[in-house]
Point group: C2
Chain length 340, copies 2
Amino acid sequence: MRSRKGAPGIVDVANRAGVSPATVSRYFNIPDIVRGPTRQRIEAAARDLGYIRNRMAGALHTRFSGTFGLIVPTIDNAIFAEMIEAFSARLQALDRTMLIAAHGYNLELETAIVRSLLERRIDGIALTGIDHDPVALNMLAQRDVPVISIWNHDEAAELPCVGADNEAAGEQIATHILELGHRDVALIFPDANGNDRARDRLSGVLKRFKASGLQLPESRKLQCAYDVGEVKRVAHRLLKGDAPSAIICGNDIIAHGVMFAAQSIGVEIPNQLSVVGIGDFGGSEYFEPGLTTIRLPAKRIGITAAETLLSMSETGQMPNPFHQPIEFQLKVRGSTKPYM
Amino acid sequence: MRSRKGAPGIVDVANRAGVSPATVSRYFNIPDIVRGPTRQRIEAAARDLGYIRNRMAGALHTRFSGTFGLIVPTIDNAIFAEMIEAFSARLQALDRTMLIAAHGYNLELETAIVRSLLERRIDGIALTGIDHDPVALNMLAQRDVPVISIWNHDEAAELPCVGADNEAAGEQIATHILELGHRDVALIFPDANGNDRARDRLSGVLKRFKASGLQLPESRKLQCAYDVGEVKRVAHRLLKGDAPSAIICGNDIIAHGVMFAAQSIGVEIPNQLSVVGIGDFGGSEYFEPGLTTIRLPAKRIGITAAETLLSMSETGQMPNPFHQPIEFQLKVRGSTKPYM
DNA sequence: AACAAAAATGCAAACGTTTTCATTTTGGTA
DNA sequence: TACCAAAATGAAAACGTTTGCATTTTTGTT
């Protein structure tokens, strides 16, 4: 249980520079209000001593820790990773830091994480998705900590959100498939439990089919864990039997699995089968053939989320507009073609 | 500049429970030393008030913040993401949190990040790779903050390391290719600048070739940015000209790009071309054909790193053994086959 | 050169915990 | 029942900053 070596503090710097601690503090926070000569003495003293300010001590007083929280279902997923990186980079540029944690689609765990982050007095927090444990939301509200919901978009959401309308994305990808003339379509989606993004996408797809007067038989609605191996198995079974002419996947990862499965049994994409995903992370564009999908701009979400949170924290105001829609975009690539 | 609503503090809890703040503090840190009845009163008071402890205030005194830092080149990379997730999850289970940041292979930025993390008084930090700016290392050493180097392994390293021997990995994958009888082999590696993992892998491969008395012409040593699009272009050019019989890629991502490139111009893998990567993240196993590669156990590295750091922080001792080798493993899959 | 206004600095009291040391309470024993 | 050691609790001094207010220094004006 080693105690840190007596690292120099602000008063050590002050003594060496021949000024008061208050002035040193001001130098670090608002350099402009200390005069040139004084500033130089402080700089020299800090440099000589190797002083590194203690933000925790400062935060005790100001109540701003300069770190923000980000909770995601999982870090190990290309499209979240892209968003996380952007969120982190934006904060870094703003001299802030990021505490991140994953809950693996377990909302109870999410609540525990929120508590843990609150113990660290984060200045704001971004939660993935719209649905959350009221207990967690209460803790945040009680302390007046800025919260936003990212990734999904819903005008009715109680939290400010920064994300794309996943239901609309589902509709759009379904539209694409229908416009290509496909009628026998299968769906492979992840479990919607604790995953409002997946739920909304699926509901968008179904809505669109219904609007076209098409009824998807239950046997065409497949569910699958978030694991390429399992996806391949599910897809194999589907393709070896009475194969549909197109498959709509709940996300790009699943689409990749389907494409591999098709390839491994010699089903040609897009000639014999059209495949689409939703998400469009880095890899999908370069797939062979390229994956037709809906591009959800992960980077933009990350950046906007960081900026929104910071602004909420500094102004104490809700963002305007309250819900920030992030536009998505259909990317038509080689994995789809007209039926027949 | 909103100030947080007067959230209840430890003294509010103490008053409500009719005990002193000291006792409440003890309750939260070492519950066993407060008597049953007292404990219950404290529990009730804390619950009623919705008290959430302030670890920053505590850390001011104990000098342990309960958060650890992790610096990676990039978060948005499947294999790092896997490690990050494991590191984070392990800390979470130990009631600690993780501050993470990426430097994009820019060592100067890494130093700035180290400083920023030190300002938050992290209890320890993991840096990716062996090579680091002495300035950063100095700051850490001066403050006696536990540091480890992860991902790579080198018996000569000055920092404790938790990782696989990337040079040996390079040798092993080269051995595999040579044993399959390939003689005309091309290499596609990322820029080794500020990336000791890439440098060591490449040097391992070259070492092995030299040992076999084979001289790789410079034209067979290709360099390529970490971007699937560029990889595809580079590979296209290579395959359309005087194509080698095998390509060794510096990592799995590059290997994926090569496989897509081959596929797009009808070069059959493994019949006309063998391809190998190094890394083996989630996706590679399920590729079609599966990618032959060296499995670097990212999860294990993340977990071991977290545990090592925590133990260093608690005991104040260097880990034993000082360097912790993480075993890697050749995974032979469908992307390679004997020459001819 | 003298003065007022403005700018820079210093003093000291917070901020919310933890911990040492002293004091009280408890439980067991004679 | 009285006493003692051990266990539980309390009082108060840290921990390293920031900031309101008071004071000093500078700057600009006449």
